[in-house]
Symmetry: D2
Subunit: 336 residues, 4 copies
């Protein structure tokens, strides 16, 4: 059950509503976000919803039987759009392209990518400064200094930044230098990190786990929302399987299913998804037709020299062709 | 190693070549198909390929390091096109649509589907008469009589037939009434069936196994080819996974990868793939953009009353819209 | 619903029962096996079971809500024991060991294995003469002649034979030379083969599919039973997974779960399960403690020279140690 | 490459060794643990190992080609034993039993479990106070206060504590109240947490990820070791699969394989592994025979009233029987 409260509801009215939620046998959780003020009621009893709906201070009330509540499309039919400022918006009605290297490597590299993005009218650059690596001896990213350099160059060029955050303590350091926090597949059920990103208010791109179910992904998003942050997008990035012919199985089935279950934007990462440079284009175009609100992919001036993930990274020429084709595919989709 | 023999090679020349294959330490298998005459050599030794290449009767010779040989694109770069007659061709340069019910149910049903297909210029109808069912007590199809009825009506209307064959002994009975034999996922490694279909000469659509690897699918196709039948198409139909939100995970990654590995056409089955009627359209359109040479999907005049698979079957209105959109998507793909 | 009929029930009484099954809205299937005579009723309606139970000719009646019926332990609590003759019995109260090479290779090889088995009081020898192979160019077994040789030597030595059957047409040729037909993982849903093995009456060891569910395995067994053959044992042989450290994941969880769901014996194949010779012992001992009624594993006089599967085959010394340890583990289990 | 340094090596000698590591083209990382002082060299060049081995201050040097180094059995053949004090040791030569509820619920509950453990001579109690839950609205544990209560009662009774840590910031608060930190499956690649646990020096039980490979598990352990903590045990807890008959697939194949790859103790969690109370015993006994160094399972005075995981939790009577049988099985294994 989701109870939308009226703006600026007085404390005593709110308490009365919480009291009534308890009376009908539910556990009420208060949620205050950038956009609204809610009480989420969890319980299984059957009761007359009007006993709450008619209370002063209640703007609206909805039953939601899913395990996830606030992110469900059963409650909020209108798709969520996330405004990054300067006209950059993610969500239905747009097709968002986010591109850049796996790892931020140097000032020169950032400049080359930015130039490529600007030439193709792409507004969001990806790039990791904190890298989750299987081996403790591998390159783990340029860290905060790298991020500040990344931020400075992008700001000067009107480009928004998306980059991965790996732990709670990084949020405070990073928050002023990112436009979108990315949560990687390995952290998709790092609940403390999700809680803290709920409080941090900056938009979050949340990746599906290595073998994550859609249900787990949606509940992970509920963590962020219920801690105060509605600006969430979900990302399909490939699931683990027995098939050895590609790195992961990019699961495009997730796209239309997620779009029906939630009002949040759905982004696809074809680079990690299939993990093979030569097929990033086909999978990206397929993602467009499956209904994605955007893609995030890896590009580098010289993929074969990239610090990480070179085998799944396209060069600028391939990237340019991909951008043009995705835009045509999106145009066709919109014409349907 | 693949040795292409000259048309009408005399027996003694062929024997000399086989002898030389043995001499260099390889095991030679002679393959005679509708299209050509080959010797496939299996072995690991290194030798001067010219010792065979220069022999009389050899038209061409190729090294192929894959486990599958004759179906490899490393040897035959030109894509295979399968001509079903009356202008119906499957393979690159076409986008083939095959549609129809899961099970053939009645004369009336066939007529309704045929009418729908004709109205939309679709030339190939699918429909099962021998049904593989998990339970021995479930409906197992109308059998041979159903097939003959199916054949008669389609022939009268210029529609080609694709239907599933489940065992060797059915081939002889069915061969005169089908245009394409379908091998289901559960039979994708039924090697005796594959052998016999190789001898049967009719085109075969071979589905990937329930959890089949691409390598297994390609080797299964090699069974058919090496028994004399080049007219094979591969079909991605979803793989089994932990995800409970859909029946299978339609693995579109397989499409571009198979297209690179083999010269055979690649078809996608979105109905079994995702298993949910509402998302068949998005997955079909995505399949087009991923590079598929065609789709095979389930449609029925009243899906909710279908004998089987109703939950993944679209109605004629949905089917019509899907056909139109797939053709537009294919047109866009061809323009790239 | 399972209706057990009285022995030698007159046709007219049987027809009346079938009629009453229809009257209550169920579909009745008559099943006649070596052991009994049944009507299986499939339907969902609720009705008073006594309307059938009191009919003349009905020995007993049971509701079974599972998809599989005759093999369910809900109906037949007593475990099935399969008597191969000469005191060789498979099922609860015994721990059956079946061992031998992947492929039958030669007379000499059979003799060596037989000698090893006799020295260790093992009564059942495995060995393939028809081999399912991924590649059409690989060794496919010695065929029927190999089987006859295999049979002759084993009969002379009081050893029973288990060997794989791959297609319906082989059954007739093989039936006189086998004690147990093995159905491989790739044929676990080859429903025509299962039907025919139901008619063939010889005991069947049915392997779980490559990624088969327990539900599918149980329904596959129901195919055999409902065609007239109660002598079935199930075999866990490893499932496919993302983990590359072993060939398959031997799923011992299946053992206690199957033992609760069905009255059929459950056998474990550690050789294909983990696929690595060095760990066959630990997995076999674990299988004993998980509750298996037997194991089937690969042994060869010189595993490194075996025609197939050498990497998962133990030598005779390892085999002897394994047999001794399994028997001790079984003894401990029985003492609980 | 692992270079073991002499105890108390002077800084200048160490620098010379690091310099030489660099000279031969490797990247050297210094590791200082409770037990030793190492330099791990990462690189691919071939060189004469004696150029380093002969340097003053080098105690020993080993090539290790695995991605993980310090935890490899190729280097350290002797199994790691972890001493928790008061005679409680985990590792080869012992079979360790850790039991207790999923969640710590109350003082009374702890006392009942402690009493049960003491009566059965079990020395280590598990119990969660910080609970990772899929839904943000579910019970998330009693937190630090619960831990302090848990600690107090266990200390009074000579019982050691293992409990889950979910984030870096909890370590400092928890460290004085735990004997073993547990890292859950969802955090198995939370690299910052692993780094910090490396510094924290307390023993760590590291669970395999939801769909984690053994390689990933081993590299995760390397994170802890390379940050200074050798006291690590690995835990198999079931992997995700397509099979719906149980919660997870407890993968006992992992046990003998891990035991060969690493010198660390290997523990099995049958409760999460199969997720069904009735089969915990069989899977535990199987784990013993597969070679596990211990088990960790869930028990509760009234499983049906447990705050979480009741369906996989055994009661005290079942627990007692399990303990006795595991000890007998271990005794048998040791007799081999």
């Amino acid at each position: 059950m989701i109870i939308q409260l009226q703006q600026g509801i007085p404390a005593d009215l709110k308490e009365k509503i919480l009291q009534q939620v308890k009376t009908v046998g539910f556990k009420g959780t208060e949620v205050l976000t950038q956009e609204g003020h809610y009480i989420v009621g969890i319980g299984k009893k059957d009761f007359d919803i009007r006993t709450i709906g008619q209370l002063p201070g209640v703007a609206d009330i909805h039953r939601v039987s899913d395990e996830y509540k606030l992110i469900s499309r059963k409650w909020k039919v209108e798709p969520t759009r996330i405004d990054l400022g300067e006209g950059v918006v993610i969500g239905e009605g747009q097709f968002s392209i986010m591109a850049g290297p796996c790892s931020i490597e140097s000032e020169k590299q950032i400049e080359l990518v930015v130039e490529h993005l600007k030439a193709n009218d792409v507004k969001i650059m990806r790039g990791g400064v904190f890298k989750p690596r299987s081996s403790p001896y591998a390159f783990r990213g340029l860290g905060l200094e790298g991020l500040q350099m990344f931020y400075r160059i992008c700001r000067e060029n009107g480009i928004k930044i998306i980059t991965e955050v790996m732990q709670v303590s990084q949020i405070e350091d990073m928050v002023d230098y990112v436009d979108v926090f990315q949560v990687g597949a390995r952290n998709s059920q790092n609940f403390n990190l999700l809680d803290s990103l709920g409080e941090a208010q900056k938009p979050v791109l949340l990746k599906r786990g290595i073998s994550g179910t859609l249900e787990e992904l949606l509940q992970a998003a509920e963590y962020i929302f219920s801690n105060g942050n509605e600006k969430i997008m979900l990302c399909e990035r490939g699931i683990r399987s027995y098939e050895g012919a590609y790195r992961n199985v990019l699961d495009l089935n997730a796209v239309p299913v997620l779009k029906e279950k939630t009002h949040l934007p759905v982004i696809v990462d074809p680079s990690h998804g299939i993990g093979l440079r030569n097929y990033v284009e086909q999978m990206s175009l397929a993602a467009v037709m499956a209904g994605a609100d955007g893609v995030i992919y890896e590009t580098h001036q010289k993929p074969e020299e990239a610090f990480s993930d070179g085998q799944q990274t396209v060069n600028f020429q391939e990237s340019e062709r991909l951008i043009k084709r995705m835009r045509k595919a999106y145009e066709l989709r919109e014409s349907f």
